[in-house]
Subunit: 250 residues, 2 copies
DNA sequence: GCGGCCACTAATGTATACAGACTGCACTCA
DNA sequence: TGAGTGCAGTCTGTATACATTAGTGGCCGC
């Protein structure tokens, strides 16, 4: 698919949504800052109708918050909010893994997941891991989580996981890039990959409780990454999502 | 227009949303049926702009589904979808209960929950339970679950639970009324109330795992109610939410 | 000097007009 | 007779004008 085509054919609503989301995630719009429709019109150069729709969509996504008197503000998240969102995602992915295990995912449906696992193995084998490999890992990791979620074969659950993962800091790959700057990088990567291996094994053997538990624990790697990244505050630029973090001072 | 005063104060968007939701839940709009904006305008007597916003909101709620070529259709749910939504809600409420326990909900914050528990006890004590008592139970039960959710003190989690519970058949009180017609009514009520008691006790004693487990099990009462109600198909009229159920024939 | 009220401004809520895209049908040509 | 093309009707997407409300600042009265 060509970039230009999609750029041109895309609706004004989506364009506005993308533009505003970028500005929020990049920190150009600060947490707590009020954003009026007219402002959004100025920024995006589309008229109020699609802008409004875009604002509503961003509210669902969780990036904006409606102000009772009308209008929206950029949502601010505490560190606790982020950690809770990660735990929440882990819980839901745990449920997805349990469903996959209990309902007997077929050998055929497990195949793509296993291929993905093998691809990840390739990437993880390097030591030290190149930045490119990290980047590839992020993509592959996202694919692994998506496949796992699909395996639950539960549309309502898939929907919820997608909603939670829409928040960049709650997504499965949200803090992987932060690792790349850490000394513990390779070790954490290996542990994460072991979790992947275990969950596939558990699903294959119909071990629902084990599959669920390991996915919960797996998500806590993201929490660990976040804490490490916040402690050595040097590499926060790798994490644009943290623009939404309420500064502790305020 | 000179409508009633009470209806004039709320916005057209909300009015349209309520009207359309009622029609969907009451079955006047069938699952799978397409709703065009103009149709919605006809139905609600408001103009396209607020109607459109209402349709988008109902899509988020999960009652509608966007059609790729544009427009919306009423979402159809299988029995499995409904059961999964209940399990999902149970899982999230379980997480909320665990958070409440682990984070040490203060004695003060537990008080409203305990009062609610006592009120529910009063209602459950009757045998047989009057229809009015059932109705009061539904209200009180909703309050109990809302208080419990709040106790997690986790905005992201509260948000997700609210989203899931927005689907009427996934809400904590979704199938309580179905019970009232069942011979097992009183017994199920007593069991449910015992779950309530246990979760409060577990939170008080900081037993996170126990609090989580009991809330998961608690939600399965709703699943049981649903199955019973579907088996003796006599009292389905008590459950308007089931208008969204895909008929097995199709 | 302080507090309350009124008026003005600006933003949101709503309606509608216009344009582009898609669907369905009919007609024509091979 | 079948398939393709063109046209018409209708729908969604977008823009904009109008109405209404909330918020703010200044002025007047106590």
């Amino acid at each position: 698919m060509s970039e230009r085509d999609s750029e041109r054919s895309i609706s004004q609503t989506v364009r506005a949504q993308l533009a505003l989301r970028d500005m929020i995630l990049s920190g150009q719009l600060r947490p707590g800052e009020r954003i009026s429709e007219l402002q959004a019109v100025e920024i995006t150069n589309v008229s109020r109708t699609p802008v409004r729709l875009a604002l509503v969509r961003l509210e669902d996504e969780g990036l904006l918050q409606a102000i009772p008197s009308g209008g929206f503000m950029v949502k601010a998240f505490t560190e606790r909010d982020i950690l809770d969102s990660i735990e929440l995602r882990g819980t839901l992915e745990g449920l997805a893994a349990r469903f996959a295990a209990e309902r007997g995912a077929s050998a055929r449906s497990l195949e793509p997941l296993k291929e993905c696992l093998a691809d990840l193995d390739q990437l993880v084998r390097q030591d030290p891991v190149s930045v490119e490999a990290f980047s590839a890992y992020v993509t592959m990791n996202a694919r692994f989580h998506a496949l796992l979620t699909e395996l639950s074969a539960s549309p309502p659950l898939i929907r919820q996981i997608d909603r939670v993962s829409a928040l960049p800091f709650a997504s499965p790959s949200g803090f992987v890039m932060a690792q790349s700057a850490l000394p513990e990088a390779h070790q954490i990567l290996l542990i994460g990959q072991d979790h992947h291996r275990i969950v596939v094994d558990a699903i294959e053997n119909r071990e629902g409780a084990r599959a669920e538990a390991i996915m919960r624990e797996h998500s806590r790697l993201a929490a660990r990454n976040l804490r490490l990244a916040l402690r050595n505050r040097t590499h926060l630029d790798l994490l644009p999502a943290l623009a939404l973090l309420q500064s502790p001072a305020e």
